[in-house]
Amino acid sequence: MSKQEYTITVYTENQIGLLNRIAIIFSRRKINIESLNTSPSEAEGIHRFTIVINETEDVVKKLTRQIEKQVDVLKAYYNTSDEIVWQELALYKVSTDEIAEKVKVERLLREYGARAVVIRKDYTVFETTGHREETDRLVKVLEPYGLIEFVRSARVAIIKASKGFHEKLKEFEQREPGEELVENEYLDRQEEVFTM
């Protein structure tokens, strides 16, 4: 089995220390995390992690199970890049003088889908979103004009085919303590849940 890029999506309780618990699952196996984003989800009190790694499917499957085993984790999915819609945000800081003098700014904005976020006398900050290659293209263009600073966010991703985990989350929210649980039914049914 060959390695490829996988995006792991994890729904969790909003708990202190959980980031560490999840990170340990990767670090103890000496697996590098390429990108990690964590933020609140659409459901109150539930957070969402998006983790990108390069691994074989076999390893990724085991990792997801180990993640899902954590007490504060509600659900973990893994997907290849063509099963998700994903974006990264990039910010570029350039000298305002330099850029106004030498570059056709309007063209730049149009061609690269960029947006000026801040324009000051000393510098201007542009923003783009997209896949890595897309945001990289603007870096190349701006570099000759003295890119002062560049930063890219972690990946955020939405699974193309999941049948609305939102509904599931609401169920989780509503369930009264003590009721019998019936989750896990998708554990080995990734394909069915996510076929497009």
Binding site: R21, K62, V71, D72, V73, R175, P177
Partner: protein, 579 residues
Amino acid sequence: MQSTLSQPQKAALQTKTETISGSEAVLRAMVAEGVYTIFGYPGGAIMPIYDALYDYNDKLEHILVRHEQGGIHAAQGFARSSGKVGVVFATSGPGATNLVTGLADAMIDSTPLVCITGQVFAHLLGTDAFQETDVINITTPVTKWNYQVTDATEIPSVLAKAFYIAKSGRPGPVLIDITKNAQLQQFEYEGYKPCDHIRSYRPKPVVRKEYVEEAAKLINAAERPFVIFGQGVILGKAEKEFMQFIEKAGIPTAWTIMGMSAIPTDHPLAVGMLGMHGNYGPNVLTNECDVLIAVGMRFDDRVTGRLDKYAKQAKVIHLDIDPAEIDKNVKTTVPVWGDCKETLPMLTELIDQKVYPQWLKRFRDFEQEEINTCIEPELHPSSDVMTMGEVIRTLNELTNGEAIVVTDVGQHQMVACRYAKFNQSKSNITSGGLGTMGFALPAAIGAKYGAPDRTVVAVIGDGGFQMTLQELGTIMQFDVDIKILILNNQFLGMVRQWQQLFHDRRYSFVNITSPDFVQVAKGYHIEGNSINERKDLKSALETMLNHKGAYLLEVMVGKENNVFPMVPQGCSVAEIRLK
């Protein structure tokens, strides 16, 4: 009976509160959870809890250990012999870090524990205050769950969660770190509600009937089926269900070191122990069976040897409560997720009543070979030097398989597990996954509290005994009636064996000298004896077992004896060596 109270009336009743401290809330949680024994060691950051404990004398028995590691191993022993949750108290900083070895041990051996550690005042967190350590981060990899409490109002619900998590599903250790201000804080206590549900936690996967059916089909069609089981049977309290399953199926059955004693060692279908120092037949025939049924075990590398050569010919059915265990090490043909107490009867229902006399005989033939080459010389040696095996054999004769045997780690552990006879479940207590030297003495103390009516014998090497021998003090102070059997080979025996076999006999730092153990015991007012002649063995063991109260017996055994059979590291189980 239908309640006649109106909604507001009920609400009014529920809000009847009283003001108590966080510390008191901790102890009320203990009582509500049915805890009656706590192992622990006080200190500044947990003093409010100890202060409250002073008034709980009649409800909670606290055993003052001599080291927190001893405390947590004792709690493990308690949990393993009783099937209940073990509880430990420790103070912040060094108290808490002394728990780490036991946490790691309990984590890998799925032992239910609730550990309460004191912590500095919340306003001091992160300031390198006196005895402040980041206990939550230190213990994260070795706990099933942990949590830091900084406000007393959280205590009842957090402790309820802690007990629920520790004992449900695949059990494990939970640590709750409570800041001193939370222990002291007075708050409106609304009573204790046990926890039986956590939104994000699924202790048991849903049983899939179709997989059970598929598994039954495979078993019914098998010609050479083989059952292997682990501690899951004991943790699931499924001994009876398991026995019914194997007896109807008629399948030869072997155990892992952790599963040992779930069925009587002399059961007609029992073919022995698996793994590196397991029995010859079950190891070899793992690579000849056509259907391998693994129940509540996790295919540890000490059991499988080389994975790429492990049971490749077999269809594998794996019954486990932890979905993450499925396909982790060995690829399964049919996974049966669930609590084996639930899944085994379903499976038993669907399988045919069968016997496999030819196949079982293959195990017996290998057994005979093992008896001739290893077992006989070990149990009835011809030389003058005593072997560990004959000590265990004699112990068996005197205890009739009724004793709890707690072992430390090393050659004596493997010998004890190979040769001890058991009639009851929860009788073999050992550090399986972590292999923690120093485990046995404190774990035996805990085991005695967990099963006060049973004889508890701790079998320990001269090396491991010196790792936690301070717990003799606990035994002395609390009159703990355990029998300590030291098998002294004057070496760190297991390491020496490896140096002999794999490092050209370069005995590098395995020669360990010991104090006069009997004198040491005497210092603690514990009776003892040391023997080095076979003629004294039986009577010395008898004296030990008949003695009222704790007793230490040292038996001098052969210095350079080895434990065989052995699957050398990196070999397949079929390459097991008899000598």
